[in-house]
């Protein structure tokens, strides 16, 4: 399982580094979305740092949806799917590898968007740095959950539109926990409850993925 996970992780990152979809498509989308958030708040509230954490995570969720789709679409071209299927890879390993690759991409994106929220939405830099550990864990949980939901919807009718319908409600608690822990970091508040939510979500999704990804792949 671990060997397969590392193989798939390196393969996914290599594909991303060569295709540069993250650099040329996803990041510009994320930055534009942050700008739109400022515009939506209106000129007198655009620099409202108290909205910063929530808006950062909202944009990150939308970015994550794009990246989850991308992560799955790489596997689903007809020739790729058939030839990789004959390798008989351990599905739990595939799940872990793809989740880790997606998490790595989300961490890179998240750090850039965090910088964006400091600059564009006037979120406190000190608070953003303090929030970094919770951002890392929230994005890891998003990646693991996203890999599962991506596999659930790939290949079906309207896969790209079905993914948000299934995944966004499930991401809501992660959004809440992420935003609350980010705000707590800004305001020196208590964060144990949010870390509990994030840890439970990350553990549960990882366990479910290891157990059931094979069932989805068999589909």
């Amino acid at each position: 399982m671990i060997r397969t996970a590392l193989l798939v992780f390196k393969k996914d990152l290599r594909i991303e580094m060569r295709s540069r979809v993250l650099l040329w498509q996803v990041l510009p989308f994320g930055v534009m979305a942050l700008l739109l958030c400022g515009i939506a708040l209106g000129p007198s509230h655009a620099g409202n740092s108290s909205a910063g954490p929530g808006l950062f995570y909202l944009v990150t969720l939308l970015v994550a949806l794009l990246m989850i789709n991308r992560s799955q679409s790489v596997e689903k071209t007809p020739g790729t799917k058939a030839s990789v299927a004959t390798l008989g890879l351990d599905p739990a390993g595939v799940f872990l590898g793809k989740s880790l690759a997606l998490a790595t991409e989300l961490w890179v994106t998240g750090i850039i968007l965090l910088g964006g929220s400091v600059v564009i939405l006037h979120t406190s830099l000190h608070g953003a740095i303090l929030a970094l550990p919770s951002v890392v864990v929230t994005l890891a949980a998003l990646a693991v959950a996203g890999t599962l939901y991506g596999a659930l919807t790939s290949g079906g009718d309207g896969a790209a539109t079905l993914l948000p319908v299934l995944a966004l409600p499930a991401f809501a608690p992660l959004l809440i926990a992420g935003e609350r822990s980010f705000s707590a970091a800004l305001n020196h508040g208590g964060i144990w409850r949010w870390w509990l939510i994030l840890s439970v979500a990350l553990s549960v999704y990882t366990a479910i993925g290891i157990l059931l990804y094979g069932v989805l792949e068999e589909s």
Partner: protein, 239 residues
């Protein structure tokens, strides 16, 4: 014996629902604080109980049984699907009755209260399950993916519940018991509430039974179409 109990279940459900409505709307005195509005306590909590625990639970258990090879069968897939469909109806009723109750109490149709918000999120998840069913024509593929998703939904219920609860709550506190298990309501109110829980639970299983029957008939019809499709396909080869 089985047929008799099946035949009696419908009329018994009707009696239980009738008793709930009669007791709740006329017999039991109005609430001391909320007046006539308080009569919604005999509908809203029961409907929410069925939506969030009974129907989701039924769908999740049937889905888990489908995923386990030993108990995998079309019956489990059908039960999971039908239970989730009925669940959507009950979640909608939960939100509607909650809004009707909330409007006079809070002044607005919607507030960002923990339970309402959780219910809305779970409602979208249930709709997502139905959307997932429609996205795949292949029977086995559809059954597997739906089962995995239903298990994920079930796991999400406590995660969503606690995250939203800790985020914010405006909702009425415990309706029936305090945190140290002291009964809050008494006498006829308590009995009527108990009857309403039983009645709506029976209503769920009654609806589930008929929805299941409809699904079996739909599949039988599809099976008949399959024979025609096979015959037509074979004829292509001889032309």
């Amino acid at each position: 014996m089985k047929q008799l109990s099946q035949r009696l279940f419908g009329p018994l459900t009707l009696i239980a629902m009738g008793a709930t409505l009669a007791l709740g709307l006329w017999v039991v005195p109005p609430d001391q604080v909320q007046g006539e509005l308080g009569r919604l306590v005999y509908i809203h909590p029961s409907v929410a109980w069925v939506a969030l625990y009974v129907s989701f639970g039924t769908s999740a258990i049937a889905s888990a049984l489908y995923l386990w090879k030993r108990t995998r069968s079309e019956v489990m897939d059908r039960v999971a699907y039908c239970a989730m469909e009925v669940s959507v109806v009950f979640i909608a009723l939960t939100l509607i009755t909650g809004s009707i109750w909330g409007r006079p109490a809070w002044g607005v149709w919607w507030v960002w209260d923990a339970r309402l918000t959780s219910s809305a999120i779970l409602g979208v998840l249930a709709l997502g399950y139905l959307a997932l069913r429609r996205a795949n024509d292949d029977v086995q593929l559809r059954a597997r993916r739906s089962a995995v998703f239903a298990v994920l939904v079930a796991i999400n219920v406590p995660i969503i519940h606690f995250s939203v609860q800790w985020w914010k709550t405006l909702h009425q506190g415990a309706t029936v018991f305090t945190s140290n298990r002291t009964l809050l309501i008494h006498g006829s109110q308590a009995w009527t509430l108990l009857i309403s829980f039983i009645a709506f639970t029976m209503l769920f299983f009654w609806l589930l039974r008929y929805r299941y029957r409809l699904e079996v008939q739909r599949e039988n019809l599809a099976g008949a179409s399959l024979e025609e499709a096979l015959a037509s396909r074979r004829r292509e080869g001889t032309q």
